[in-house]
């Protein structure tokens, strides 16, 4: 019970410092961008299906992409094709007032886009804008790109939080519970932080 209480306290009481604020990038400006994303070794990190979390920042220096909806910034990840059934969790992580407006392209070994995960497939998970997709045998790369039509839009959310604070009295641990809520506002932008997780699925 004590261990649970400490875990609860650490998880819910806000011990993790908030991320630094980031100004939303809503205008990429005039850039010449290819219409095919690059997923070569220099541009894309290689990830394993081990359930570890990987992060990448998308900013003004990130590679750009010409899409039918406008210019977009992106980051890419590669992984080994085939193998055991696996899924990818992709999330846009708030950075202060900024939240990257995400969409995902899935590429095959030849670098062709074989699937697009549209922006409306993203839902909030753990305060992040996230989607999950099951990988197919020929999938070899994921591109997380900003979605131009959503750039500049504001998002308002309410986050309730039940908290537990643990106090060591010397003769035991006292758990004090309380609750509060916060109003959150984010601007969807070309920039932000991307979290990706590749994990195995039951066969």
């Amino acid at each position: 019970m004590r261990r649970l209480a400490v875990l609860l306290g650490l998880t819910l009481a806000g011990c993790v410092p908030p991320p630094p604020d980031l100004a939303p990038l809503v205008d990429i400006g005039a850039r010449t961008c290819p219409d095919i994303p690059s997923t070569d070794a220099a541009a894309a990190a290689f990830i394993e299906p081990d359930g570890k979390l990987h992060f990448a920042d998308v900013d003004g220096g990130s590679p750009c992409l010409k899409t039918p909806e406008g210019l977009s910034l992106y980051t890419a990840f590669r992984f080994a094709p085939g193998g055991a059934p696996a899924a990818v969790g992709v999330a846009s992580v708030p950075q202060g007032r900024t939240l990257l407006a995400p969409r995902v392209y899935v590429l095959d070994d030849a670098g062709r886009v074989v699937r697009e995960i549209s922006a409306d497939s993203f839902l909030y998970r753990g305060g992040m804008l996230a989607t999950l997709l099951r990988l197919r045998p020929d999938d070899t790369a994921i591109v997380v790109a900003s979605f131009p039509p959503a750039i500049g839009q504001g998002v308002n959310r309410i986050q309730s939080l039940a908290q537990a604070t643990t106090v060591n009295t010397g003769r035991g641990v006292l758990v004090w519970t309380s609750g509060t809520e916060a109003a959150l506002h984010h601007t969807l932008a070309h920039n932000g932080r991307v979290r990706i997780e590749l994990y195995k699925l039951p066969p």
Binding site: A5, L123, R125, A130, L132, R134, R136, S160
Partner: protein, 239 residues
């Protein structure tokens, strides 16, 4: 994404997520298309809607505090159910019909399969013996864990807002292959990546329980909003 909050369920804050220690399984409709979907009668909390107080000072005082807290909770739930009794609102039926509509809107041919509504977990012994109007490609088994209103605490900074927790699993017919498994919570009280969290509509807020009990019409509209948005999100997960 793997839910890493299994231990917290024992403290009562995540009762509706009792099975969240397993990884989320996303559905790939392109790879395994389902045309005819048998939807089980959703599991539903037998006690009815709640006015749940997620935390209270009583919880800090051991067994005696737990007993006091349980009594306070029972009183809140009773008053809430009495207050909305005249609204002719059948949350279970509204949820069922809204879920079916959301699935049909995503292009599924939906047939209903009868199942016990008082179950608190997915059907364990397969779906082959369930009666359905047509031979389905897959079964969708969904359970609403808690439903009603929740306040994160007892102060004005933690008002009552609508609340609904749903877990679903879609299993391929004729086997045990799980095509999708996920959870959705309207107005979650914690942040975790193991479930979809829907922000509550700011229109449906009550600073305290007395104000909640005093406006049953608005209270019911808030619960309707929770049902609509959770079933919409389910449609998104299965699109």
């Amino acid at each position: 994404m793997v839910c890493r909050l299994k231990g917290l369920t024992t403290l009562g804050l995540l009762l509706l997520l009792g099975a969240c220690a397993v990884p989320v399984i996303p559905y790939d409709r392109g790879a395994t298309p389902v045309k005819t979907l048998a939807v089980l009668t959703p599991g539903w909390p037998t006690a009815g809607p709640t006015a749940y107080l997620a935390t209270s000072p009583a919880q800090s005082f051991g067994l005696v505090g737990a007993l006091v807290g349980a009594a306070i909770q029972a009183n809140l739930d009773s008053k809430f159910r009495d207050s909305i009794g005249g609204q002719n609102f059948d949350g279970q039926e509204v949820f069922r019909s809204r879920m079916l509509a959301a699935l049909k809107a995503r292009g599924y041919e939906v047939v209903e399969a009868s199942a016990r509504t008082d179950r608190t977990d997915f059907v364990a012994d397969g779906y082959g013996n369930l009666a359905a109007d047509a031979k389905p490609d897959a079964y969708l088994d969904c359970i609403v864990g808690r439903f009603g209103y929740v306040a994160a605490g007892v102060t004005d900074k933690a008002p009552y807002r609508p609340f609904l927790g749903l877990r679903c699993r879609m299993t391929q017919a004729g086997g045990t292959t799980v095509l999708m498994r996920d959870a959705i919570i309207y107005n979650p009280q914690v942040t975790a990546a193991g479930f979809v969290g829907i922000s509550p509509d700011p229109a449906y807020v009550f600073v305290n329980s007395d104000l909640l009990f005093a406006d049953p019409e608005k209270a019911v509209k808030g619960m309707q909003d929770a049902i609509d948005k959770v079933t919409d999100a389910l449609g998104t997960l299965l699109k």
